[in-house]
Each structure stands twice: as structure tokens, then as C-alpha cells.
Point group: C2
Chain length 391, copies 2
């Protein structure tokens, strides 16, 4: 186990009906003026918007609102939110939605509290020093943003998707009601399953050292997600399955599943270039394409680790004579599962043309400035090879 | 999964050498005056005391000190600490040691910030409204107090051991360096292993409902603790084993292993009466005696749950024709393990006489006022039966 720091201060309110407590929760914290931030309007269709507004009104909480956060949330809307927060003296951002609304809300909360262009933080030119507090009501089990340090924003002018990781991004509270995910489509549910798995597995199949309890917790999250994912797709209103996905999603990205391990999320980095260039690509679908290719490329550098993954997560039989067979069986089990839940596993299925590979690899290395660490180092050449395995 | 709230704000600094950062950490928080609280002096023998004092001095942190926290920490010393905190305007309690020093420090921190007899909080006559912040440097993997809401104090006049659970008891930060546990004796190491397992398993083998991801995380903590426990007893300076025990200990009692389940820690409640009346009994050793007896008493009320425990934690074979055999195999595996690591499994081995059973049962039910919940309800009669199974 390498040295680590762990901090996860977000207060979680989990379960049926919890979102109706949002007004009371905010009042107990003592906030006066809220920015209610949400996405494209699905929360109006489901009735959630009305319930949240009622809860705020009942608790006497004053609020202004900003809708329109979209998948791969954009800087333009973030700037608009910052302006509203300053003008209206907002003291809490309340993001209602999936990872997009929450990430957008986080960027607004950081931007509103610092007196400079918020993109400076995402392009890593400057460190933020403070942020408005943010609370969330989650409607999609996927990104883990509801407890994580991270926010990902797309600069629509530069066509660049970049993340900001800071403890300032940790929500003060997050309300997790699995019932709010009953209406999520099978495709989006599957994208979420992949995202949860990837947040866990990219911390798990790493190059260095022992971390027994972290390993087993990661396996716990993976096995639960696989099992509950199948159930939720079969019966979208299976409360236990939706609850497992929701809690697994929060645990997968709050830091817990990687403690004591040295990791770098290579597939995530490569995928960001795909959905950065091709807006229609859902992050989870992009990961379902990149991760199998990465595994095929990387497994030879750490066969024991891939065997542990195959045996403990997928119940593959260990081939003691030829461990490579077991490692490959784990890769195949992953691909089979992604296909089973309706995910693409090739760039072709995403409508991403072969001739964009070079540009994505160039961007992923920051025009050659950056080499991604891992079992081996990933420069432009290696990333191109991985992307070719996605064809 | 039943509804839950989860909050674990303690910042953990984990790993080799981390305790040397304590001065810098406290300075970064902005505290001015510290009460350095510790136990019977073992930290002076090991040199830890000198290193902590040096770190505080190097960072320019002013401090006063109070040693003498003993196993089953007592109210008298707590009151002394409260007096010092008030007189010296202490703004942070720093507890260095195991669960005893930390629990004692928590009671001081709560007591110093409220203007009444601190026993009122432990006897549940009053709720505390505030507490001084507390930081910890852990030297024993066992109680999980370094991240938990709980503190247990013994009123030496009334010979009563009582716990206070409140978010105010959460340490602000905890420094966890596994190297500081290399010198822990085999007996105390084994007591810690049992305590970690019991914090997990008493949340796990419960009466109601599903909580898949919580179950698997509990199993992860249990399996890691069993495996690392054996290694640490064989080689006390096995860093990875000590690290696993230390982190498993913190996770076992911060709430994570019971989320979404309805549980009540019956064996803990019964054991508190044993070590409350017989000061020489270590809490972990007492649990190793009570828990097997509770299992023998209770398993018939939930055979499927005991089967899951046997198969997933102890790798017992499932007997599909006669599941009861599997349930019993899990109980036997637990007892075998406790014996293997040198723990007592009978009251006789603890020098607790048979004729004290009735008094313990009477106290455990608050003189008949309290019935403990669980698969069945536990009144005086049931507790006597369980304690008789400990003979």
C-alpha cells in the first residue's frame, strides 16, 4: 500500500423519497439563496422539478434557476451560471440531474467564487482557492460526480474536454433516491453501468504493489454492479437493483476503490478525446469501446493482475499451467458483458471514422507534450495502436 | 436497502512516516493550542512521543499534555482533561494511542465544549450540542474510533461502561501509520483482529432485507482482515499486513459496512457488561467469547444469512440439501480462527465466574428497562442463555 490521503465529506441522504427533504436539508445548513441548476427538461417531464420547487418553497428557501446543462456540459452555460450567482448573491448551487448537471454546477460553484476565467482551472493554468458549496439530487447512476472531486467541462470553442480535480468540488450533500432512476432508458442505464465499472476497474488493474482491502472492495463494487446491472435492465423498476447501481456509482469514484494503489485512468483519458470530438458519443459507450482495446494491448505486461480480475470478478477458472488463457478469458468476459447490455465495442458502432484516430491521439498527448503513465508509457504511437484495436 | 444517511468527514493521512507531519497538519488547519492526550506511556518507550513533540515544536504549535488514558477509559481522567482544556483555552484535542486514548479524547472534546456533567451524554440524559475538534494518531488497529461516531467511557464509581454516538465524535483528521503497530503484542493484535471483524460482522449478519454492495464490502473487509491477521501474527513487521488491518479497522466502524441494513450490535452490548464488570478483560477477547455463543443461539432464526457468511467469508462448501450444516460450518470456522489466533472462546478462560452471569444480564437490559432488538428480542432470559453458552 502506498501512502494516501482520503477525505470524503459529502453527506449522503439515500433512499426512497429523500429528495422531498431538500428544502429542510438546505434550511438546516442555513443557506439563504439557491441556484437551482438542471439539464434539458426531463426533470420537468417526470415531475421531479415540481417536487423540488415545492420542497424549496415549503422550507422558505429563495431560489433562482438555470436549466440547459447538456451531456458533455459546456463552458458557455457555466459562465452564464456564474453571472447569475454573482448578481443574485447565491450562497448554494443545487444541481439536479446526472453527471452533466452536477459537473456543470461544480464549475459554476468554483467559477462564481473566484475572480477569473473559469477555463484557467480546467486547462490547469491556475488552482482555484475557494468555491460556493454545492448540493445535488442525482437522477442517473453513472459518473459518481455526486461524491467525487472531479468535474469535466467542454470548451465548445476549442472543442476540448478537460477535467478539474479538487476537494473544492466535493458536494456538501447529495440526495440519492434510486426511484428517480426508474425512468432512465436501457441505453443510458448501460452507459452508466460501464462508467461505474470503469471508475473502479481503472483504479484496480494497475501496475504496482499490494492493497488487499482496496482490491476486495473494488471487486465488491464490480460484482455488485454487474449483477444489479443485469437486473435493472430486465426490470427498470427493481428498487434493489437501482439502489445497488446508485450506491456503487458513488463509491466507485469517491476515491475508496483506489486507495493505496498507484493508478492512472488511461482509458478515461483516451475516451475523453472521442466524446470531445464526437458530441453524440456517450461517455460510457466510448469507454465500452476503449477499455477492451486497452486490455488487449496491456494485459501482457501484467498477466497476474489480469488473472486476479478474471477469477475474482468474472468467476473464470484459473489456468495454472497457462495463466495467459485466464487473463484473456477475463477480457472476453468483459466484452461479452458489454455486448449483453447493449453497449458498442467498436469505433464503427460509434460512427467514429478511422481517419480521426491520429487527431485524437495527438490531442490526448497534448500535442506530444504529455506521456500517459501505466504499465508502459503511452505516447502518440501507443494511443494510435490502442485506438486501432477499437476498429 | 433501507434508507440511510452516510457522512464520514474525517481526513485520513495514511502511510509510512505520516505522523511526522502532525505539526504541519495542525498548523494548516489554523489551530493554536493543543491538548496532547495519550495512554500509559508506551508511546514514550517507542519514541513516538518524542517524534510528536518535535513535530509540534517544529511547526510552532503550543500544547499542554495529559497522559494516563487506560483500557476502558474512565470518567475521572476525562473530567481532568476538560478542566485543562477550559483553563488553557485549548482549541484542538490530539489523541495519540489506541481506541482508549481516542475515546477518552473524544469525551474530553465533547465535555470541554458543553457546560454540564459529561456523564449526562453517556447516560443518554442529554444530547451534546458542540465539541472541540479532535485529531488522532493511531497506534492500534482495533476499535475504528479514529473515524467513527462513537466513544465508550467507563464510570468507575458506578462500574458502568456506556457509549456516546454522535457526529460530533468524528475526528477532524486521523493519522494512520501502520509502522506504529509493529510493536503491538500478539495478544493485543489478536484482540484487534476480533474487534475489527465484529464491527463488520455484527452489521452484516442481520435480520432484514437486501443490501448487495454493502454485503460484498463487508465480506471484503472480513476476508482481508482474516488473511492479514494471520500474516501480522506470523511476522509483526509485515507492513502490508499491518496496513490492511489498520485500514480495515477504520472502514469497519465508520458506517460503510452496515449501510442500508437494519442492525443492532447485540454481542457488543453483552460484551460491554463483561469488560465493564471485569476490568482485566480486553474488549476483543470478550467479543471472541460472546459472538460464537450468540451465533449458536441465533443461527436457527436466519439460516440463509449464516450460509452466506459461511460460504462467502470462510469458503465453506454449500450443503444445498441441508443448509443448516453450512451455517454450523461457518460458526465452527469462526471459533477455529479465534482459537488459532490465541483468543479465548469461553468465560472460564477470561476468569469470569458463572455466578456473575445474572448480574451482567440485568445490567445489559438496564435493570429490565431495555429489550435488545435482533432476529428475536433479547431480554434478561435470552441474554442469560447466551452467556451460559459462553461457559
Amino acid at each position: 500500500m502506498i501512502n494516501f490521503e482520503f477525505y470524503c465529506p459529502t453527506k449522503v441522504f439515500f433512499g426512497r423519497g429523500q429528495h422531498k427533504r431538500v428544502g429542510e436539508i438546505i434550511r438546516n445548513y442555513g443557506f439563504k439563496k439557491v441556484l437551482l441548476h438542471y439539464g434539458g427538461g426531463s426533470i420537468k417531464k417526470t415531475g421531479l422539478y415540481d417536487e423540488v420547487v415545492k420542497a424549496l418553497n415549503d422550507a422558505g428557501i429563495d431560489f433562482v434557476e438555470l436549466g440547459g446543462a447538456q451531456p458533455n456540459p459546456v463552458l458557455g452555460l457555466v459562465k452564464k451560471g456564474i453571472e447569475i450567482c454573482r448578481k443574485e448573491n447565491v450562497d448554494l448551487v443545487l444541481a439536479v440531474g446526472g453527471g452533466s448537471a452536477i459537473d456543470s454546477g461544480k464549475a459554476i460553484a468554483v467559477g462564481a467564487a473566484n475572480d477569473c476565467d473559469p477555463w484557467l482551472f480546467f486547462s490547469k493554468k491556475k488552482e482555484p482557492e475557494r468555491a460556493l458549496p454545492i448540493g445535488t439530487i442525482l437522477t442517473l447512476s453513472a459518473t459518481g460526480s455526486e461524491t467525487s472531486t472531479s468535474a469535466v467541462i467542454t470548451n465548445e470553442e476549442l472543442k476540448l474536454k478537460r477535467g478539474l480535480n479538487t476537494d473544492l468540488n466535493r458536494p456538501l450533500f447529495s440526495i440519492l433516491n434510486p426511484e428517480l432512476t426508474f425512468t432512465v432508458s436501457p441505453y443510458q442505464t448501460a452507459c452508466g453501468i460501464v462508467d461505474i465499472m470503469m471508475h473502479t476497474v481503472e483504479r484496480y488493474i494497475t501496475q504496482k504493489g499490494e492493497a488487499e482491502v482496496t482490491d476486495r472492495i473494488a471487486e465488491a463494487v464490480l460484482k455488485s454492479t454487474i449483477q444489479a446491472g443485469r437486473k435493472a435492465l430486465k426490470n427498470p423498476e427493481d428498487y434493489e437493483a437501482r439502489a445497488t447501481l446508485m450506491w456503487a456509482g458513488s463509491l466507485s469514484h469517491n476515491g475508496l476503490t483506489g486507495l493505496g494503489r498507484d493508478y492512472f485512468m488511461v482509458s478515461h483519458q483516451i475516451e475523453h478525446e472521442i466524446s470531445g470530438m464526437f458530441e453524440k458519443v456517450a461517455h460510457g459507450a466510448g469507454l465500452a469501446v476503449v477499455f477492451p482495446a486497452w486490455m488487449k494491448y496491456a494485459y501482457k505486461y501484467n498477466i497476474p493482475r489480469f488473472c486476479q480480475y478474471a477469477v475474482r470478478v468474472w468467476n473464470c477458472e484459473m489456468d495454472y499451467e497457462n495463466p495467459e488463457n485466464t487473463a484473456i478469458a477475463g477480457i472476453e468476459a468483459t466484452i461479452d458483458f458489454f455486448r449483453e447490455i447493449g453497449m458498442p465495442t467498436t469505433l464503427r458502432e460509434l460512427d467514429v471514422p478511422e481517419d480521426s484516430i491520429e487527431e485524437m491521439a495527438v490531442k490526448c498527448t497534448n500535442y506530444g507534450e504529455r506521456i500517459l503513465p501505466g504499465y508502459i508509457e503511452y505516447g502518440k504511437k501507443e494511443i494510435i495502436e490502442i485506438l486501432r484495436l477499437c476498429l
